[in-house]
Symmetry: C2
């Protein structure tokens, strides 16, 4: 059974669950994979707030508790649809605890899966732009996992651009987390940054925060591939439990 820590954030969790269902080859209810999910966001402190030192409460502990609950229900494999939670100060604590205690739970690593997805489906891409939260950017988790795979990671230039992306996700009025969808303004702000990344040499852009695919369901913008980290994780989870049920990935421009 696949386990999902679905509350980081709730709409990103739903997006992952939806991608698991749509990427599974199934003709009836009974063909679908078994998935258990917990969306219990209130005890999990904001990941960026922890990484930036705004709070000293590490989200690792409540995330770990929810992974244990999923395991208790029979999950043997799990995913956490939050890029920022994969930053080493959070993820290292989670993995260490998982490794040293109790029954084994295989936790897929979203950033690594995004890298493998690009290697597989965009073999000619070498320089990738990154849209992310400030926490993901600050932690350098994408360069850490992607550079060993041969990718160069390009980020929006300057604090202001990075904050624009962060607000598109977090703003309590117009942000994706508050609305559950992307407003016109949010999409326009993000499209501007995507254009900047293209101008800076990016051959593809990673939607490196799980709220961002809600703004960009499409696979490309004016020919520039968008790499959906949630899609990469969804497909990796299916592949790990039942590769025969993984739907073929649509033909993609290879950047």
């Amino acid at each position: 059974m696949i386990g999902v820590v679905a509350g980081v954030g709730p709409f990103a969790g739903l997006d992952l669950l939806n991608k698991i269902a749509t990427q599974t080859a199934a003709r009836s209810d009974q063909d679908h994979l078994a998935v258990v999910s917990i969306s219990r966001p209130s005890p999990i402190p904001d990941r960026t707030a922890f990484l930036m030192g705004v709070t000293s409460l590490n989200p690792a502990a409540p995330i770990l508790e929810q992974l244990r609950m999923l395991q208790q229900l029979g999950a043997s494999l799990a995913g956490i649809p939050c890029n920022t939670a994969h930053a080493p100060p959070i993820m290292d604590v989670i993995r260490e605890e998982l490794d040293t205690s109790g029954r084994p739970l295989k936790l897929l690593h979203m950033i690594r899966e995004a890298g493998k997805f690009m290697q597989h489906y965009y073999p000619s891409v070498q320089r990738v732009g990154l849209l992310s939260t400030l926490g993901t950017s600050f932690s350098r988790v994408y360069p850490l996992f992607l550079e060993p795979l041969g990718f160069e990671v390009i980020e929006p230039a300057g604090r202001e651009s990075k904050e624009l992306v962060h607000r598109a996700i977090y703003d309590q009025d117009y942000g994706i987390k508050a609305r559950g969808y992307a407003t016109e303004r949010t999409r326009e702000d993000l499209l501007r940054i995507i254009d900047d990344l293209r101008a800076a040499g990016a051959q593809a852009v990673i939607l490196g925060c799980t709220e961002l695919p809600l703004a960009f369901p499409e696979n490309e913008v004016n020919g520039l591939p968008l790499v959906d980290s949630t899609m990469a994780l969804a497909r990796a989870l299916i592949d790990a439990v039942d590769p025969l049920k993984l739907r073929p990935w649509p033909a993609q421009p290879s950047g």
Copy 2:
């Protein structure tokens, strides 16, 4: 914590989870309600197949097992996003077991909630059309719960029309369960039946199978209100755990 038996079927489960999230007043991840869901469809036999005597395996047992798993994780309230599972031969077994054993779990009744939703938001409607699976129709669960509330239930005339609706849901090629969305053909078939129900005097039409709102996200068709049983259940679940977080329902035509 809200518990959801999300595998009946998987896309209907996702629709309920999505409606719980979008109908909750929240400005950040942490504002959202705690929801645990299990989508484990393979051990649950098809509900219509049981009601029509095609199989003698009552889906009540595996549904009950999954309710117990949700409870084990801390759910005190649960919903089952499948109208057909509320037919008495299935639901009576579930409720009896829940009542007589173990800790209490409050299970909301989707059909009753759909009736209360109509009373509240469509006070002038008296005759309601019903789109459903053959199992829901055969079991007469809608008349059973809605007539005491003062509604008259009008069904598609004749076996052929009912089978058209059933296939729109179940067909393993073009049906909503197989696709995870409604094809043009499915929508056209269903629109034709909706027109028939209107001609037969329906003042509103109940989407009485949880796959149907995937075909009709809109609240009305040419002025005829569509009553979404999944929406009714989602709002009832939120109202039961934290009424202050229930978003106002948009102004509705009252039929």
